[in-house]
């Protein structure tokens, strides 16, 4: 399989009050095309920092991050923005959307800004609606963001992250702010997206979420302490067993 993300010796250091905090220490890993990788670890281990560093949202202190063949540490702000717009999709824990736009407008906004897909505005709208239909939220297309539930909003965020047909989706605790039902719905959709070929890297504290991935990276104090590989597309009956095995492994890691 093609390597889509290649991280070598990644270091990230913050200086706070003249004190150096090494958040990520020589982290190296790869993500292959079509994978769904979960990053887990205790609070403060650097999970979100890792996600934002490898996606070019945050700068890195040392090391190399190669995404789709581009060394993102050498790209300027404009090139990074173009990369995020056309090749990456983002989902955040909070359902961040622009307050004064409708759900559909929020979803198609990146597509209207991008020239990656040569299409008319009408076609963009149709594509946005198709995505919404697929994720079961077409009925809220013209609603304002205050008129929908958290689960619906997060699914709308997934639609937005997919609108420009990205190579990879980065998700920072996508179910962190959702109740159990909504959380399951969102993960079902993400799994579906992944099974259709989109690579996903997500940060989570939830074993149930991680159990749906193909690989789990366990981060402690800025280092990858362990890696756990899972088979693709488990059936619901297998899932419970995977969760148990994953929990055991996490316990071993010190979870």
């Amino acid at each position: 399989m093609n390597i889509i993300l290649d991280v070598k010796n990644l270091c990230k250091t913050y200086i706070v009050n003249k004190r150096q905090n090494n958040i990520l220490k020589n982290v190296s890993f790869t993500v292959a095309d079509g994978e769904m990788v979960a990053v887990m670890g205790p609070s403060g281990s650097g999970k979100s920092t890792l996600l934002y560093s490898v996606s070019g949202m945050d700068s890195i202190t040392a090391g190399d991050v190669s995404f789709c063949g581009s060394n993102i540490s050498k790209l300027n702000a404009k090139e990074l923005a173009a990369l995020r717009l056309n090749k990456m999709g983002f989902i955040f824990q909070q359902m961040y959307m622009l307050k004064n736009l409708t759900i559909l407008d929020n979803i198609i906004l990146p597509a209207c800004q991008s020239d990656k897909i040569n299409e008319s505005r009408k076609e963009t709208v149709q594509r946005g609606q198709k995505l919404m239909r697929k994720l079961g939220i077409i009925e809220i297309a013209d609603n304002d963001i205050n008129e929908v539930s958290g689960g619906q909003l997060q699914r709308a965020c997934i639609c937005r992250s997919m609108i420009n047909r990205p190579e990879m989706i980065f998700a920072d605790e996508p179910t962190g702010a959702l109740n159990r039902t909504s959380s399951e719905e969102v993960m079902r959709e993400l799994s579906k997206v992944n099974s259709e070929g989109t690579t996903i890297m997500l940060v989570t504290h939830d074993v149930k979420v991680a159990a749906k991935c193909t690989r789990v990276l366990y981060l402690v104090d800025g280092n990858i302490k362990g890696e756990y590989n899972l088979e693709r597309c488990p059936s619901d009956s297998q899932l419970r067993e995977r969760e148990r095995l994953l929990s055991n492994w996490l316990m071993e890691m010190g979870w």
């Binding site: 979100s48 934002y52 949202m57 945050d58 702000a77 404009k78 923005a81 173009a82 990369l83 995020r84 717009l85 056309n86 990456m88 983002f90 955040f92 909070q94 961040y96 959307m97 622009l98 307050k99 004064n100 736009l101 409708t102 559909l104 407008d105 198609i108 906004l109 990146p110 209207c112 800004q113 991008s114 505005r121 709208v125 946005g128 013209d142 304002d144 963001i145 205050n146 937005r160 992250s161 420009n164 920072d172």
Partner: protein, 783 residues
């Protein structure tokens, strides 16, 4: 504890606090200096008139019989009066430092005996003038084009007598010092005056009457004297309206600035509060009283206000002096530096700011601690709703977002719109005033017909008893020259008289006009009715008609010299001559021209429509025909008659333009910075999903641009009615009942808005660069 919170707040929001400080400072500077100037000028006229012993009534006459009759009248009635002899000088016969003196206004010369008191440039009374020395009025002295200076050599010729004088300085002359009076006075020694005095010389008498007799005017009109004009003290005071106008414009600017300061303050307080909802909520939750929370803000704004007002006070003194420099040239302004008033105004500004803060912080009372902690958004409701949709519009997302922000949350841009509108109005209103004052059609307000050129004529009225024939010959001569050059034109001129008009026992003395040469009464502008078409028909100014209680269709009696005749009023007209006087006679009516008391310049109206080049060529031709006189456009001629107020307003407009640009830059910087702080989360999201910095900078800039365009549209709609509202009363004071504002669309609707637009949008663009500091990563820090 409180002071530590305030100290931290001042440090944390440094930029916004500094901008607010600058606004308060500017407001305090302008209010203190302008209020001081206004009060100084208002009281100064009274004080100055008292010092100068300005009479209760003043009139000028060239008719010795009228002077004699008046002297008999005042002796019978025991009125206190002074009669001053003046001689008119032909400005063509004056040489300044050996060169010809190119001046087209009227000039007279007198000694000091029987004159009202006059003062030098240092406000000291001039009690005597040595032989060979001369003083001129400050209005003329200060005209840059003539380069007058102390010790300039001025040679005067009257009749066959010539004498050279040394210019001693300028005078503040209450009667002849206003630019509106149209005649300037040179003061020489009694001996030098007598030297020129000759029985053949036309003497003009300036008669000053001091009385509190309320029936004086009625008795005076019954005398039916032949006067050039007669004014009471209030009318003399109104002659200084131009000087007052400058101070008034600055006061309006100041009022606008304080309004802008208030709008900014309101925005800042609301913004600060929405930003600090969480802190306010926590303070409320832990039991700090509303009064104390409110006190925190009030103390903060009190500190900023006091600092701003103090700095403003410091600057107001030199600024006020600069503003008064022009006004103090013509009149005595006592107590120019009324520091107490400055302090009161600056303190007032600070007090208003604090009071405003007090009212703005009422909101604290209404919000619950939990609402405040939730930052006003409890997760279930947002105030902003989408108004337009990206799916329906074909705009780029950046333009769409800018438009949607404005339409979905117009309230937060109101402050900006108000400020931009006020700023633009402050430029456009003076600009409309200048264009109206400079327009050629303004001649119609001075009882003249519209024309293309005016040839100055100053002295013909003095000695010509056969004025009509001399002038008609002259007009024919000019017309012949034009005919020879294949230029078809009407050449005409206004002769003026002083006549008494009466209706049902009410009498009024008024300036009267008759056109000589190729002119008919239908060429003049009238307010109502139709132009006089017969010998016994007249048009009459609205002011005179109102004073005698006559209307169109009424028959009035008019006394011309010794002759009394009845005339039917067929029309009313507006007149800015002598603050509203005017009677127009039919062109063929036989008037007694031995009583003519003045004339306007010779007017030339071309039958074709020459372009500017052709007009310049024709002007050159007229200059050859009339080498001793100046050729003006009609607008220039009026400027020459009443003084160049448009130049002064022009200077002020330029000052205002610079000020408005500064204000717009400051407001834009403040607002854009505020928006960036407020929209930090949204900017981070947009960056995270792939919007680059330049797109986001364009978003912020386009939004300001649209706001500015909205303001320009509103301003365009408001400018004409507001120009009328503010400027028309001033014209009314001068006798112009209905003014047609001259609007130069390119300047008003394109040039100034474009300057404002470019500078403001540039300020927004540069300020928006600040958003580059926001990282997409900060999306994880959104609260």
């Amino acid at each position: 504890m409180y002071f530590r919170i305030i100290k931290k707040d001042l440090k944390r929001k440094k930029t916004m606090n500094v901008i607010l400080l600058i606004f308060i400072m500017l407001a305090a500077t302008f209010i203190s200096s302008s209020a001081n100037n206004m009060i100084s000028v208002m009281t100064a006229l009274d004080t100055y008139f008292e010092m100068a012993e300005v009479p209760d009534y003043w009139f000028l006459t060239t008719d010795s019989n009228s002077t004699k009759r008046f002297e008999e009248f005042v002796n019978e009635n025991n009125y206190n009066f002074k009669s001053l002899d003046l001689m008119m000088i032909d400005s063509n016969e004056i040489k300044l430092d050996g060169s010809k003196f190119e001046y087209s206004g009227s000039i007279c010369i007198s000694g000091l005996k029987n004159s009202i008191k006059v003062f030098d440039s240092g406000d000291k009374e001039i009690t005597s003038v040595k032989d060979g020395e001369i003083y001129i009025t400050s209005a003329l002295f200060n005209e840059e084009q003539y380069n007058f200076s102390e010790n300039s050599r001025i040679q005067i010729t009257i009749g066959d007598k010539t004498k050279e004088f040394t210019l001693k300085g300028s005078t503040k002359d209450a009667e002849f010092g206003s630019e509106s009076i149209g005649t300037t006075r040179f003061i020489v020694s009694e001996n030098d005056f007598k030297y020129f005095y000759d029985k053949d010389t036309v003497i003009m008498n300036s008669i000053n009457v001091y009385t509190d007799d309320e029936e004086y005017l009625d008795k005076f009109y019954n005398l039916e004297l032949n006067t050039l004009f007669n004014l009471d003290k209030s009318a003399i005071k109104r002659m200084y309206f131009m000087d007052m106008l400058i101070a008034l414009v600055m006061l309006i600017v100041s009022v606008c600035l304080i309004l802008i300061s208030m709008v900014i303050l309101r925005f800042t307080i609301n913004f600060t509060m929405s930003e600090e909802f969480r802190e306010i909520g926590v303070m409320k939750a832990i039991g700090i009283s509303n009064r104390k929370i409110r006190g925190l803000y009030i103390v903060k704004y009190l500190a900023i206000s006091l600092a701003g007002a103090s700095i403003g006070l410091f600057f107001s003194i030199p600024f006020g002096k600069i503003m008064m420099k022009d006004v103090a040239k013509n009149i005595i302004i006592p107590n120019q530096n009324n520091v107490v008033l400055n302090i009161v105004c600056a303190a007032g500004t600070a007090a208003v700011v604090v009071l405003f803060c007090y009212f703005c912080t009422r909101k604290i009372k209404k919000i619950s601690p939990i609402d405040a902690i939730r930052n006003g958004e409890n997760g279930e409701r947002y105030s902003e709703k989408s108004i337009i949709s990206l799916k329906k519009l074909r705009f780029s997302p950046i333009i769409f977002m800018a438009l949607n922000d404005i339409f979905s949350g117009l309230k937060r841009f109101i402050a900006m719109i108000v400020i931009f509108i006020l700023g633009l109005l402050l430029i456009i209103i003076p600009e409309n005033t200048i264009n109206t004052l400079q327009s050629d059609s303004r001649v119609t307000l001075f009882n003249m017909a519209e024309c293309n050129h005016v040839i100055s004529q100053e002295l013909l009225f003095i000695s010509n008893t056969d004025y009509k024939k001399v002038m008609t010959d002259k007009l024919n001569n000019i017309k012949n020259v034009l005919d020879k050059n294949n230029i078809e034109a009407k050449v005409f001129q206004e002769a003026t008289f002083r006549m008494t008009v009466s209706y049902k026992g009410k009498k009024e003395s008024s300036l009267a006009f008759q056109g000589l040469g190729d002119v008919t009464t239908d060429m003049y502008a009238y307010l109502e009715g139709t132009a006089p078409q017969k010998n016994d028909e007249i048009a009459i100014s609205k002011l005179v008609a109102d004073r005698i209680g006559a209307n169109i269709g009424d028959t009035v009696e008019v006394k011309n010299g010794d002759q009394i005749k009845e005339y039917i009023i067929t029309a009313t007209l507006q007149s800015m001559n002598n603050l509203g006087e005017g009677i127009r006679f039919y062109q063929d009516e036989e008037l007694d021209y031995s009583y003519v008391n003045g004339c306007f310049g010779i007017q030339v109206k071309y039958s074709d429509f020459p372009d500017e080049d052709e007009l310049n060529q024709r002007k050159a031709l007229l200059e050859k025909v009339e080498p001793d006189n100046k050729i003006f456009t009609p607008g220039e001629y009026i400027g020459y008659m009443i003084g160049d107020i448009s130049g002064q307003i022009g200077n002020i407009r330029n000052l205002i333009l610079a000020l408005v640009l500064c204000v717009n830059i400051l407001v834009t910087v403040l607002m854009v910075k505020s928006f960036i702080v407020k929209e930090k989360g949204e900017l981070a999201i947009l960056k995270a999903i792939g919007f680059n910095d330049s797109s986001l900078i364009a978003w912020q800039t386009i939004r300001i641009g649209i706001i500015l365009l909205i303001s320009i549209v509103f301003c365009t709609l408001l400018s004409t009615p507001l120009s009328k509202l503010t400027i028309e009363p001033i014209f009314k004071m001068m006798g112009a009942v209905s003014i047609k504002f001259e609007i130069v669309p390119i300047k008003v609707y394109l040039f100034y808005p474009l300057i404002i637009f470019v500078v403001t949008v540039l300020a927004a663009w540069i300020t928006s660069f600040q958003l580059r500091k926001i990282s997409a990563f900060e999306v994880s820090n959104i609260e």
